[in-house]
Amino acid sequence: MASSYDYDEPSYDSRSYPPSSQASDVGYDPNFVPDSVKTFVVHLYRHIREKNVYEIHQMYEGSFQRLSDRMFRESPWPSVEAVAPYVDNDHVFCLLYREMWFRHVYARLSPTGRQRIESWDNYCSLFGVVLHGVVNMQLPNQWLWDMVDEFVYQFQSYCQYRAKLKNKTEEELQLLRQYGQAWNVYGVLNYLQALVEKSMIHQILEREKEGLEQFTATDGYDYEGGSNVLKMLGYYSMIGLLRVHCLLGDYHTGLKCLAPIDISQQGVYTIVIGSHISTIYHYGFANMMLRRYVEAIREFNKILLYILKYKQYHQKSPQYDQILKKNEQMYALLAICLSLCPQTKLVEENVSTQLKDKYSEKMLKMQRYDDEAYAVYDELFSYACPKFITPSAPILEEPLTNYNQDAYRLQLKLFLYEVKQQQLLAGVRSFLKLYSTISIGKLATYMEVDEPTLRTILMTYKHKMHAVDSDGKIIPNVDVDFYIDEDIIYVVESKSTKRYGDYFLRQILKFEEMISELDRVKLD
């Protein structure tokens, strides 16, 4: 689970990590294994061997958190070497335990440079074992999602860590020099890609569409004695790749990586709420940067409604903080999208109310396109955007600087540039709403520009409000449209058509069900 503290920082600049954060764990003995931990690992090991997914899940979500809360609030869990004898020194179990060990350190403590590198080594070993195809376990989806999610999170965290060179000790710099391969961007991307390929998840999803394979129906689990680990890691890696590409600023490729997953329907990605939210958040953000505002609004609306309805069921879960944070970020992104591309019919009522509560004032400001407006766009974008990274290796010579904000600053700058280009469109829209026809000359006078400038603005409006999708098709994003006949503007308000087709289909199925039930009733 991606730790909540890092995402909650008040300013963008992530806090600097104290060089030896373990100084406080006076009395932390890595070799001491309390009885409760002994019991924990013995049972978990047994459940994994017996493929008892339900019990594994209970222990993973429940017991691990409870023990962490009770005994390991400020220190790491016992070392894997101390725990290994209780689990037959099982290699794979030790890798899994270590993965949880490091995740705990990231979540509750501050990882040292060395720990970060060791965690990378652990992931390499773990994924190596999985990719060799020799793993025979069935693990809960929550755990498998957390693995991929944490992998990408630790990569992002390392890039931030590595880009802040100013206050590093000589020891830390030496580590960076020595272990240049750790969290190398090629390594990270290639592991995710390898998981996608080796699991053959693309082919599985294709065959499923043709009815030749069961995947979604079994929640990804294998009921024929096999393992779900490679398949599910491959599946979740598609979302991982989307996320990494967003962190790099490559939105197009990110969306391509996600393409095999059909987000217009329920699927395996919706089973674990963390994966559902991460998918839609990044999908929506990428679409926003590609100017496909309607698509982004549509998806944000769906997920925000979902969270509204179901978040109460996750209050006790360790992901709850993250869920809330992403929720707030997506409201901010929705506010941005609706300010750039006003739509009246795409946002559900409850979501709309929440949005107004949080952002009505800011949205009004954004639509004014003055200096204050840009400040608000800046603020919301900075709050809601992913933590962009600089993937290249650090230059470890003087002068040592902190350049961890460079990537973010570039994305922000380009985004605000786009906003600026759309500056005059809000004015056009508000005038067009008032008329069914108007001459170019008159509108130019009202808007206090000359005719050529107005024609330019009108064409800009058309261009910006018609996005190009990945197949090259033009998708209109307009609520108020127009066309020009020589020098008269004809305004077209888009009508929303009622969706009769779907409604009839649903009712037909419902009534058919009722009829067959009635048929079954026998009357004497």
């Binding site: 197009h252 280009q421 066309y483 020009i484």
Partner: protein, 233 residues
């Protein structure tokens, strides 16, 4: 003649391989040179591959010392030619800020800005001043003209001749010939506007003729209809 075709076939074979590389093994520093060659091929054979170019820009991001400014300039010009697609912005997202400060990039960014805000007059002025950078890529003019016509087609049912002329930077007799060609091949028509000016009637599409807009909202995909086949039979 035969040799030409052979080398063209060879070219096609090499690009096929690069596309495959990008699809199968994109996170690989060894393909950097292949991708750079591919950019030059795109320029000379007037083809375009966004995926390959993004892949190369990513590799430059991972290893900034290997970045080649001329190659990036070519990629950006190709991206401009792909408008209205947002490819130019997509490329900029991947180029570090300091690099974007180079003169050539600043020029291209200005050109992109003019195109994005439909300031065709200023665009063509600026393009003429920077002919040396743009000449490198054949087909540039035609691509931008196609984009200009696209924007006009979104906006106008009937566009006055001077507006069209300014947008595509063609005047006088050349414009007459151009219009002749479009009338014969692309469904354009010519009319008289008021004040004896010439009006160009652009082809009807759903953006300048809203009545043509398919009510796609209410069309039901086939998969949904199949749900009731058991009932209908």
């Amino acid at each position: 003649m035969v040799r030409e075709r052979e080398s063209q076939q060879q070219q096609q074979q090499v690009s096929y391989t690069v596309e495959q590389l990008v699809a199968v093994n994109p996170y690989n520093p060894d393909i950097l040179t292949d991708l750079e060659n591919h950019v030059n091929e795109q320029v000379s054979s007037q083809t375009y591959s966004l995926d390959a170019n993004l892949c190369l820009l990513r590799l430059y991001q991972f290893e900034p010392e290997r970045m080649s400014i001329p190659i990036v300039v070519r990629i950006l010009i190709k991206a401009l030619m792909a408008m209205p697609a947002p490819d130019f912005s997509l490329c900029l997202f991947l180029i570090p800020e300091q690099v974007q400060m180079e003169e050539q990039f600043k020029t291209l960014i200005v050109l992109s800005h003019y195109l994005e805000t439909a300031r065709f007059h200023q665009f063509w002025d600026e393009a003429v001043k920077n002919r040396s950078i743009l000449e490198v890529v054949p087909g540039f003019e035609q691509a931008i003209q196609a984009y200009a016509i696209h924007v006009l087609s979104l906006t106008y049912q009937k566009v006055p001749r001077p507006i069209l002329a300014e947008a595509i930077n063609i005047e006088g007799l050349s414009l007459d010939k151009f219009l002749e060609y479009q009338v014969a091949n692309s469904g354009w028509a010519l009319e008289k506007g008021h004040g004896r000016s010439q009006l160009i009637v652009l082809p009807r599409n759903e953006f300048n003729h809203p009545e043509l807009k398919k009510n796609a909202v209410d069309s039901v995909p086939l998969e949904h209809v199949t749900r009731i086949f058991p009932i209908l039979s």
